[in-house]
Amino acid sequence: MSTSSGAEPVGAVPVLAVTGIVKTYGATHALRGVDVMFYAGQVHAIVGENGAGKSTLTRIITGATIAGAGQILMDGKPVNMRAPLDGQRMGIRMVHQHHTLTLNLSVTENILLGRLPRARPGWIDWGAAHLRAAAILDELGYASIGVRRLAHSLTAAQRQIVEVAKAVSVEPRVLIMDEPTAALAHEDIERLFGFVRRLRERGTSIIYISHRLDEIFRIADRVTVLRDGAVTGSLETAATDKASLVRMMVGRPLEDLYPPPRAWRSAKVALSVRGLARDGAFEDVCFDVGEGEIVGMYGLIGSGRTEIARCLYGADRATAGEVNWSGTPHVARSPREALSAGIALLTEDRLGDGLVRGMSICDNATLASLPAVSRCGVLNRTRQRQRAEHQVRALDIRPTDIDRDVATLSGGNQQKVVLAKCLLTKARLLILDEPTHGVDIGAKRDIYQVIAKLVDEGMSVILISSDLPEVIGMSDRVLVMREGRLVGEFGRALATEEALLASASGLSDGRSNKL
């Protein structure tokens, strides 16, 4: 590859190499001929937009997915990867982005699952097991996590650490880390990086996947950029910078992804939240949302953002606080009440609680507005289909056939169907929780344009996102959450990636930046 130079030890054989990897899902090309080499004692970052093919590549490397074409080589020899067990046998381990812990088992059992030490055949040596697990956690710098505790009693950050411990419980030759810092605060990230560096010194090859470009420049020796399933660059981190990585990732300057910044002036307050709290999730949250305003909400996973959204929507109950909506006190006790008051929520997990798989685009898009297309409980099919078709055109959902099962759609189009469902409710406050998670860049821009058009028409939007450029590019104002509290508020001018990240991870006190 022309762009690769210098980083690999001269003459060394890569621990792991993939060549010509192709993977297609139906008509979608997830990977189109990817070549990457991973060396021992190197941290190799893989970056790319959502849908660029990063997770497909890691799934193929671990054996969870079988490639359509191409080769995987370990120490220069082709290997046959048919199942996750094959990958594990060869010393390839992965720290998953989505939690894989068994919540009703102890920390020890989770870390050593399938490899619990035996005293006699069939008898588990619990003493030795707890000691082993504690030793692994100690090496990670987290001796404080009790190994006998059940996994469900751990915080999001502690669970993430246990995930790492699980992956390194057998000394791995190749360790894949998928967004390992998403749930971690600043000092935890530092400790994790210390551990990663120690692993590297011991000769482990580390594949590091992250959206946070700053981290990549701090920890990675090499970075490979994927776009639309192809490698657009593979180079030493020292030889590049953020701007050129972004260009390789999105294929164009970032600016035209977001609608042009507008001079939004605070007019009428639409939503006003005072002292809102929910036990164990967040407390004392106060903020306003103006009519036609986009308020961004940024924070690490588990910081309480999603829980606030669910309380405003009535999906969960708040334990304290007041909410004023359109000038009247508003406590949504159920999603039904929120919807009739004109508040809609797009949830972060479209497959978990957004879509009904097995049902059509039409059924899904109109699910939250069935009363509007029926009389006395009997559906007016023509009206229902007209409305769905209108949204399919407005949001450019493909395929346009509204009878298609939503399970067959791509992530971006599925997300648009969920958005269509929210829009058909005629809401005036739209709460969007990770609206572009796992969505390709084209769909992303479509969604941004729709949001921009809606706020121009007077819709208020709360935009919850972990995607820093998105929060900054879209919001008129950004709120930052940390550990269940609102810790910062930034106007458009002051909302930079550095400032938001520092505030969210507790590095600086966001209140001092308050407008």
Binding site: Y313, A315, S334, P335, R336, A338, L339, S340, L345, T347, G352, D353, G354, L355, V356, R357, G358, M359, D363, L367, A368, L370, P371, S374, G377, V378, L379, R381, D403, K421, T425
Partner: protein, 318 residues
């Protein structure tokens, strides 16, 4: 303007899935076996017998389908059949046929509402709840009568025994119920919500739909249809035993499964269930005609169900 060719390709593109065709194939296969091994299957007398025997399971399976679509299961249907049957027979002499029938069906609906309310209000497992209410309802039936009831009302047997031309009255009623439930599931808001809950109940709740009342409605439909089935059954037999309907839930679930329904929700159709009911009915009838002993019949039925589920499982995309 669409040419004939266009229409043909259109049809090919939206051809029914394997899961939808499977019940029809099963039905035809069983019919073929019947034609080969039992000439008596197609005699007029046997056909009318078959129709009358199929009605009971047909109504129960229809209610079961609605419950299965929500992701639940109703094990109490057999006991509700007995409840409907003994109430209809017990009240027919005092109140007359129509009021007795109405009360019997109402009792079934109430049983269903109780089931559905406990399940949806407290978020309990339908299997456990209906297993418990199955015992409770059977107990109530035995308290109501320990001995068989045989009413003297002259038109008591009309509901189950009347023939309308070549078709039994019960069969016509059953088919009408299939039409109504099909309309309910496809064309009403509650019906669409019922189907959606089995696919993703949290998404339905967040769409502002009352999941509790929708689930309760499903169990009420199941209870009402089961009690109705019990009334038709005792009318055909002329006598109401408190032990009526024992283990009927198994045949009802089997008919739904053969008809392509997915236990746990997310799949199933009215027309598929209808074919499932007929398939099972013919198998029962065939085994009787071939003089197979009843315990061998159970073995054959069990094997057929496993076979059907295997075929369906293989049809899933990898």
């Amino acid at each position: 303007m669409k040419t004939v060719l266009d229409r043909w390709t259109l049809w090919l593109e939206c051809r029914p899935s394997w899961r939808a065709l499977m019940p029809v194939i099963c039905f035809l296969a069983v019919l073929l076996v019947g034609a080969l091994f039992a000439d008596a299957l197609f005699t007029e007398r046997n056909a009318s017998n078959l129709m009358r025997q199929t009605v009971a399971n047909g109504l129960i399976a229809l209610g079961m389908l609605v419950v299965i679509l929500t992701g639940g299961i109703d094990l109490s249907v057999g006991a509700v059949v007995a409840l409907g049957g003994v109430l209809f027979a017990g009240l027919a002499d005092q109140l007359g046929i129509a009021p007795a029938l109405a009360l019997a069906v109402l009792a079934g609906v109430v049983a269903g509402v109780v089931n559905g309310t406990i399940i949806s209000r407290f978020n309990l497992q339908p299997f456990i709840v209906t297993l418990a209410t199955m015992g409770v309802i059977r107990g109530v039936v035995y308290i109501y009568t320990e001995s068989p009831i045989s009413p003297a009302h002259p038109s008591f047997r009309e509901l189950g025994a009347t023939m309308v031309g070549p078709v039994s009255l019960g069969m016509l009623i059953m088919l009408a119920c299939y039409g109504c439930v099909s309309f309910f599931l496809n064309r009403t808001t509650t019906g669409r919500a019922t189907v959606a809950i089995g696919g993703n109940s949290e998404a339905v709740r967040l769409a502002g739909i009352n999941v509790q009342s929708t689930v309760t409605t499903a169990y009420a439909i199941s209870g009402g249809l089961s009690a109705f089935s019990g009334a038709i059954l005792v009318s055909r037999l002329g006598i109401a035993q408190p032990s009526l309907g024992f283990a009927y839930e198994l045949d009802a679930i089997a008919a739904c499964v053969i008809g392509g329904a997915i236990l746990g929700g997310g799949g199933g159709s009215v027309i598929g269930t209808l074919f499932g009911v007929f398939t099972l009915g013919i198998i029962n009838n065939l085994l009787n005609l071939l003089d197979v002993k009843s315990f061998y019949q159970d073995i054959v039925k069990g094997a057929v169900i496993i076979f059907a589920v295997l075929l369906l499982a293989r049809s899933k995309r990898p």
